[in-house]
Every structure is written in C-alpha cells, then in structure tokens.
Amino acid sequence: MSLPAYTGTLGRVWHYTFLAICGFVFFLLMAPILVIIPLSFNAEPYFTFSEGMVRLDPEAYSLRWYEDVLGFGEGTGANRGHEWAFAARNSIVIAIFATLIATTIGTLAAVGLSRPQMPFRRPIMALLISPLIVPIIITAAGMFFFYSSVGLAYSHLGVVLAHAAIGTPFVVITVTATLVGFDETLIRASSSLGAQPLRTFFKVILPLITPGIVSGALFAFITSFDEVVLIYFLADADQKTIPIQMWSGLRQQISPSILAVATLLITFSVILLVAVELLRRRSERLRGMSPQ
C-alpha cells in the first residue's frame, strides 16, 4: 500500500493513522501469545517480568519450569513432571485416533457431497457441520448422559469418538473446498481409459485432494488436542490430557509451569500452521490457481 504521489497532507496523515490502528490490532492479536514466551523462562515463580528480566540479566532467566514439566528437574510438586508426561501421552493418543476416524469418514463424505447428484445436499451438509456450531457445553452435556448410559463414559474410546465427532466438520469443510472446481473430466478420462471407480479414486482424485485432507486432518487434530470441555465431562483421571491439566491448574492454583507448557504448545501450533499454509499453497498450485 504505497502512497501515490498525488496524496495530500491529510491523506498522508490518515494513511499513517490507519497503519497505526492496524499495528495496534496486530499487536493485540500477537502480544498475549508473545508475552508468555519470555515469562516462561522466569527464574522467579511470578507471572510478571522481574527487574532482572528487564535488565536482561541472565541470572533472572532459567529453565526450571521446563525441567518441572518435562519431569527431569527437582520439581516443586511430588511428581508433577510425570503428570504432564502422562497427560501429553493421552492427548497425543486420543488426538491421533480421533483424527484418523474424522479424516477417513469426513473425506468420503466430502467426496460424496461434492458430487452434483448428491440428494438433499444442503440439509445434510448443515447437519454434518453442526458440531462446529452447537455450543460445546450442550454437546458435552448430551454426550455425558448418552455415553454414561451405553457405558462409554470414562473410557478412551468414548473420548476418541466424541473428539472425532467435533473434528469431522473441519475435514468436510477443507476437503469440500479442495473439490470446488474439481475437473470432472479427469474422472471420465480415467474411466474411459479403463480404470475402475476405486482405482480412479486412488489414482486421480486422492492425489489432487490430499492437501485438503491433510489440512483437515491437522484441524481435527488440533481440535482434539486443544479440547477441554468434553474431557471435563466424559473423562476421569485415566484420560487426563494437557488441556484439562492446564484447566485445573488455572482454576485452582496457577503455577508457572503452565507458562512453560503454553510455550511448548505455541511452538507446536506454529509448526502446524506452517504445515497448513504450505499445503494450501501446494493445493492451489496443483489445481492451477495462482497462489495468493
């Protein structure tokens, strides 16, 4: 947004005011995330910058909270580190299985929904996306009663199914988006060359929609990985995950270890975000759209 030469003084003033406003909004978006990273290296058990940190005194920084979390430090709690490792393992296992289920059936559904012959497309689509819209507390309450009555509450399977259900809309949305403008002639070309529908799917359709599938899967993964309310209602100590551990930490006695966990999670999200962005661009290249 460079300014044209004919811009008047008022225009210039406005332009810079505008940029300042935008700068402020971006600051608002980023600051809460960025502030937590240096604080997690605080040597003191406080949630604010100590004087030493402001002076960049290396003494004021330490890795003690990370040692706490990862479980090889002295630790303040009896076995806090062990707890986080246990939660991390649960989080990852649950998220992986939920993602697998959500991605498989979500992709199939997206392929079906993108067929022009799909009957009742609109209401079915609305139903399939609804887990994204229905307030999580209602979903959690409903699942709590139902899963208790069929014996799925307080089990890994129950949590996986619940997480898969709220993850599917993301897969449906991203894969359907990749299929928009999908060249139907490719399918006919493949058939006319003698390929069975299944072969067409694996050889022609799948490679083209892979970026959409992967980014949908990442969305489903992060949804499960970050989910706390369903766990709060459906799980007990055996299914404790990182978010629920943070949740109880924040509600009871907030410990600086949480900041270390938060920093680790931020790093994780940056990796996922970069992966999704790269996939999106690849997908646009594959489909012959110019990258934006």
């Binding site: 947004m1 600051a31 079906g112 609804s130 507390i137 959690a140």
Partner: protein
C-alpha cells in the same frame, strides 16, 4: 434429463434412452449418498442422538411414575375438583407404605416438596402415623393423621408433580414457576437470575461481535489491499492466534491483566497508577470481553478478507480519477461491496460467542459469566439436570436459528478456515 429429444429414443437393447439415463442418474445419486452415509450415521449416533436425548430431559419427570406407579395411574382419573375417592386414598396409603419399606419415601417427599413447601413433613410423618391405620376407611384416618390429606390443594399438587411430562424446568429457566393452583407465576425477586443471564449473554455476544468487527475491518482492508508478499505474512499473524490453544491464550490474558500482572506493572512503573491503585481488569465482565474479542478476532477477519480481496482495486483508482476524494471513494465503492463479509464474519462470531464457555469460566469472575457457565454449574455441581437441559434447549434453539440464518445468508459452503 427431460431436455432430451422428442418422442423416444430407443436403444439397441430396446430400453428407451430416457429410462437408461434416469437409471444411471439414480445410480450416481445412490453412490454419492453411500459415500456420505458413514459420516452421517456416525454423527447421528455420536452427536445428534445424545443431544436429542439430553433435550428430552428438559421435560422429563419420571420420579413419581417410578416410585408410585399405581398412585400416578389412579390419580389420572381424578378430576381435581373435590377430594379424591376412598379408592384413591387406599392406593396412596399402600404406595406410601411400600415406599417406606423400600426407604424411598424421602425421595418422594423431596420431589413433592419442590412444589409444595412442607410436603416433606407430610410424607415423612406418615411413617409414624400410618402405623396406627390397620384397615379401611383410609380416607378419614389419613385426614385425622394429617389434615392436609383433606385438602384438595395437596392432591392437586401431587397430581401435578406426577405428570411424566413437565414444563417446570422450562418455567424455571425463564424465572417462572407453578404455584399451588397450577398458575404460572414469577419467581421471587432474589431467585430471578436466568432471564437476566440470557440477556447478558446476548449483550456480551453483541459487544464482542461489534468489537471484533471494529478491530477486524481495518486489518482485513489492509491485508486485502497490500501486495501478496506482505499480506501473506499478515495473514499468518492473524492465523497464529487461531491455531494457538484456547487455554494458552486465556492464560496469556490472565498473565497480562491480573492485578499483579504485566499491564498493571507497566502502568505502575510508568507512574500512571500507584502501587495501591492497581486496576482489577480480569475476573469480571471486562476480562470476558477482552479475552473473547481477541480470541474470536480471526473468525471475523478471515471472512471479511475473503470478500474484500474480490473487490477490484482498479475501481478505487477509477473513482479517484473521476474526482471523488478518498472518503467518498471508500464509502461509495469499497464499503458497500464489503458488507457481505461483515455479515458473514459478524454472524459467525455472534453464533460462536453465544455458546462460549471456557473463557468466561476462567476469566469472567462473577459478572462475566454466560449462560453456558450456568448450564455447566447445573450439570456438575447442583446436579439439577432437568434445569440444565431446559437452559441448554433454549440456548440450542437460539443458536440453531442463527445457524439457519447464517446458512441462508452466507451459505455453509462458504465457511472459510484460513
């Protein structure tokens, strides 16, 4: 396929082309549907049925039919005008005795007591009084034991609470209740909390929507008008919070805003505030508003951006070259074309914020609580599941109405995820 040519084209095998095409079309429909079917079945079983099941609890009232089935049945025939007959008294006598034997009389008493103060003692006292009654007539002896058995009002209340379907939870959810005569009355002043809470939820959602729109519009404009090299970076800055754990962002706000937090420290250090004058910026309505606005901002920026990038910048230059100043250009050219984006983003944020739970629970304190928090409270702490279900039903109906509106105006297909 009725656009196809006249009378009938008969294929070699003697079947009309039209029929063959229709058949092929139907087969394609079935294939498409079969592809969707696994997910549809999965969502119905793991999501739709559980929620439907929960909703029925909002009107479900099984307690009396479980504990006193015969009594409930015999009261069905009673017209409620004058005292029930001897036969009904006898059934009641036996049902109470049976519940005394199974030690469930306390549950009956509690249940009736919800609608009739003192009903608890009426039932519990019968443990002692009924021992003296050895045979008929039950009516007189029961009334002699406690004269409330001789009041039509008592029987009406028992009949009312025995109904397997009840509107009581819904009435409770809108601060109303039944009085003894079955009329709907307002709850006493200090118990009227839910209507206020619903209104506050709408108010918070509206404020959050407005704030996200005001903050999001400039940056969506900036992103859509800068060259890709810069705008790609800016989009990543919008997406990063979107991908960061909700709990992490809420934690950040606690760290930033609490009284001993970073922001207060900075202001004390700058001398704006005194050490004693630190401001309470979190654990109240303000905390909910600030945190929710930041958390939902990406949801409004992305739809606005995707609409704005379709507005050709050449139109803006054309307008300026025709003599319009930048202000007029913006309001005549850019603004009208960006309205669909505002609608899409605003509606999405509103829908999402109406059901918000985690952030208000963690940073909302007492004044920043929303309806979801109250539902969670009744689910987990007070265990009044009927009320939780009734509040949930009202919330769900509201959200579904907004969702329907969103689908009509924006279309679910146009939902963007980065």
């Amino acid at each position: 396929m009725n656009t196809l040519a006249q009378p009938q084209t008969i294929m070699i095998d003697g079947v009309p082309l039209k029929d063959q095409l229709a058949k092929a079309e139907r087969r394609k429909q079935i294939t498409a549907f079969l592809l969707v079917a696994p997910l549809l079945v999965f969502i119905i079983f793991t999501f739709v049925i559980p929620i439907g099941n929960m909703l029925t609890r909002s009107v479900d009232n099984p307690r009396m039919s479980e504990l006193m089935p015969d009594m409930v049945e015999s009261l069905e025939e009673w017209d409620g005008k004058e005292l029930p007959s001897e036969a009904i008294f006898e059934v009641m006598f036996e049902e109470i005795n049976r519940n005394i034997e199974t030690s469930t009389i306390g549950r009956v008493a509690t249940h009736v007591n919800y609608n009739m103060a003192g009903a608890r003692s009426l039932f519990l006292k019968s443990k002692r009084k009924f021992k003296k009654i050895s045979g008929p007539p039950y009516k007189e002896q029961m009334i002699a034991g406690d004269k409330r058995w001789g009041e039509v009002r008592t029987w009406r209340i028992i009949k009312a609470v025995s109904d397997p379907v009840t509107a009581a939870y819904f009435l409770n959810a809108v601060d109303r209740s039944f009085d003894a005569e079955g009329n709907i009355i307002q709850q006493p002043e200090q118990k009227r909390i839910y209507v206020t809470l619903f209104l506050r939820t709408l108010w918070i959602s509206a404020l959050v929507t407005l704030l996200t729109l005001i903050l999001g519009y400039p940056i969506a404009y900036l992103i859509s008008t800068t060259p890709p090299r810069i705008s790609n970076l800016l989009i990543i800055m919008v997406l990063l919070p979107f991908w960061t754990s909700l709990l992490v962002r809420t934690t950040s706000w606690i760290v930033l805003l609490q009284t001993q937090g970073v922001l207060n420290d900075i202001m004390v250090w700058l001398g704006v505030l005194s050490e004693e004058g630190r401001i309470q910026m979190i654990y109240n309505l303000n905390g909910t508003l600030v945190a929710m606005t930041q958390i939902l901002l990406p949801f409004v920026v992305l739809p606005m951006y995707s609409v704005m990038k379709t507005i050709p910048l050449s139109q803006l230059r054309a307008s300026q070259s025709l003599g319009a100043n930048p202000v007029i250009t913006f309001f005549k050219i850019f603004w009208p074309q960006s309205i669909p984006g505002i609608g899409a983003g605003g509606l999405l944020v509103f829908v999402l914020s109406v059901g918000y739970y985690i952030t208000p629970a963690l940073v909302g304190g007492a004044s920043g609580q929303m309806i979801s928090n109250q539902i969670a409270f009744h689910m987990r702490s007070s265990l009044n599941w009927g009320l939780a279900a009734a509040l949930g039903t009202i919330l769900l109906v509201g959200v579904m109405a907004l969702y329907w509106l969103y689908d009509r105006i924006v279309g679910i297909d146009n939902m963007k995820l980065g």
